[in-house]
């Protein structure tokens, strides 16, 4: 084994047993391009409206890639927290639209954290705290974002409906209504008009140029459900990525009620 010592490597100045410099892939000096794009758009749309005693979050169940329909039943609404894998007694709902794989990962992380909160603090997380936590999760991936638009709904500490909307990197805000996803540009103006009563004026009170705005009031549950249905049936007519099924979750102090109804499959 003494002979081994003569076979030392010269790590500082590498020598080669062949009289040729090593070949590298980019002899021209150009940089290699990454052609893998880690995102895709799975289409679909979601919307949320909060009322005085409830919050409704809804989403269609179609999943697409390009012009293909992957499946007619891919839920975009997830219960957060509660007990075990069935989320028994959960009071918070997350909706995610955009890149479905990121949406799933996000949902799983938030659910774990909310369950962990209960384990560590001995009480359920408030929607307010959960909303802020979700913002932090999203911002934590600021430079490789979860490519999703999230809407979070629940009941706040005063018993009122709470709704939070997000952008992919965690900017968030509490609102009364929000549409997201492929048909957001079709649904949001409808909601502005019907929920926040934008561009609606007192019919009788017009005097000259003075037109008093109608003041928005929280809607009742039946009206809200009807608005959601109308919003989606209309979006289905004009957007090819929306359709197949409508999943609605109504959150009240008594729990979460899930309603799944059909939409057009064309």
């Amino acid at each position: 084994m003494a002979a081994l010592s003569s076979y030392t490597m010269s790590s500082s100045t590498p020598a080669f047993s062949f009289q040729q410099a090593p070949q590298t892939s980019s002899a021209a000096g150009g940089t290699t391009q990454h052609s893998f794009y880690p995102y895709t758009d799975n289409g679909g749309s979601t919307l949320g409206i909060s009322g005085d005693t409830f919050t409704i979050i809804a989403g269609d169940t179609r999943s697409t890639s390009g012009y293909n329909i992957n499946t007619r039943h891919a839920p975009k609404l997830f219960r957060i927290g509660g007990d075990g894998p069935t989320h028994k007694n959960a009071r918070i709902v997350l909706s995610v639209v955009g890149f479905a794989a990121d949406g799933h990962a996000l949902q799983e992380r938030l659910d774990t954290l909310v369950k962990l909160y209960r384990y560590q603090h001995g009480k359920d997380i408030s929607v307010h705290a959960c909303a802020q936590r979700l913002s932090h999760i999203l911002y934590g991936k600021r430079f490789f974002p979860y490519y999703v638009t999230a809407i979070l709904g629940g009941i706040d500490e005063e018993g009122k409906g709470a709704l939070y909307s997000y952008d992919p990197v965690g900017s968030y805000e509490r609102e009364y209504c929000r549409a997201a996803g492929a048909a957001a540009s079709l649904i949001m103006p409808f909601l502005d008009n019907q929920v926040n009563l934008k561009n609606q004026y007192e019919p009788e009170a017009a005097q000259g140029l003075h037109k008093p705005q109608l003041v928005a009031k929280p809607l009742d549950r039946k009206t809200t459900e009807e608005l959601v249905r109308d919003a989606f049936t209309s979006a289905v007519e004009r957007h090819i990525e929306v359709g197949d099924g409508l999943q609605m979750m109504v959150i009240t102090k008594d729990g979460i009620e899930e309603i799944v109804s059909p939409l057009k499959q064309d």
């Binding site: 076979y7 490597m9 590498p14 047993s17 590298t24 880690p38 999943s63 499946t71």
Partner: protein, 281 residues
């Protein structure tokens, strides 16, 4: 034991020059991974590929099929590559996309299966029912695979596959789901990857439009539809072949056939096609 080249005894430095250390690990003086100070590169595109995988859920199980061809671009390179991999009695995975990544995943699944069998402590005698309950279901397997796929895409080092997991879930009801290189997952009574999404999916959806229809579907009918789809794919997908594998998974286990020949091929129908196919005169 020192297994590095300088311990091999030859080639001798004084005759051949010293060994090229660039291939060694970094702590031994290797520098190959960064030839020009450039970053590591991963798979940027698939090389040897398999085409579509198709599957249908029926009353008591799932039928899944894929042909036996591995293409190198447009060259039909390997004609005896089995792309359906049985995992256990409850699950089969069908792979489309890169074949080397399929073989990597197959090795991964083999080791997972070994681990699982040690963990459940199957003694080989007695309590078959308990053993059956502890066995990983197709649903478990799909969750595992989709997490592997999502992790790899997040690392920018994707496994270039689209795969279908077919079998039975923990309640022994039929299970079928998809996962791909981006970590995208979804489930449906009929699924197809690649060209099959365009050509086979419409045929399968005509036979099985929804979950209810698949719960009323007989095994024979499901097999017949899959066979019809494999024929259409052979007719119209240029990267396909007329020999294919088909597996039926139900409560009796996996019934896998790996060299089924396409039956009654005939281009006679082509004579009647005018224009885009809707034209009658």
């Amino acid at each position: 034991m020192d297994h590095f080249p300088q311990a091999w005894g030859r080639p001798r430095d004084d005759i051949y020059g010293s060994y090229n250390p660039s291939y060694l690990p970094h702590n031994k003086g290797g520098y190959q991974a960064h030839p020009n100070g450039q970053p590591n590169t991963h798979t940027q595109s698939p090389i040897v590929t398999g085409t579509s995988v198709i599957a249908i859920k029926f009353k008591s199980g799932v039928v899944i099929a894929a042909d036996n061809l591995a293409s190198y671009g447009s060259l039909a390179r390997f004609t005896d590559v089995k792309r359906l991999k049985p995992f256990n009695k409850k699950a089969v995975v069908g792979f489309g996309g890169d074949v080397s990544d399929m073989q990597y995943l197959d090795r991964l699944l083999s080791s997972l299966d070994v681990q699982e069998n040690y963990r459940s402590g199957s003694s080989g005698h007695g309590d078959e029912e308990a053993e059956n309950r502890a066995m990983m279901s197709a649903k478990n397997l799909h969750t595992y695979l989709s997490k592997v796929m999502y992790k790899r895409r997040t690392d920018f080092n994707p496994l270039w596959n689209a795969l279908l997991v077919a079998g039975l879930d923990e309640k022994s009801t039929p299970f079928l789901a998809f996962a791909d290189l981006l970590g995208t997952t979804y489930s449906s009574p009929t699924l197809a990857t690649g060209f099959g999404a365009h050509l086979a999916q419409p045929i399968m959806r005509r036979a099985v439009p929804d979950e209810e229809a698949s719960q009323n579907l007989e095994r024979e009918k499901a097999v017949e539809v899959v066979k019809q789809c494999m024929k259409v794919l052979f007719y119209r997908d240029a990267r396909s072949m007329n020999v294919y594998s088909m597996a039926v998974i139900d409560e009796n286990g996996v019934d896998l056939k790996e060299d089924i020949k396409l039956e009654a091929e005939s281009w006679a129908f082509a004579e009647g096609i005018k224009g885009y196919g809707t034209q009658t005169v």
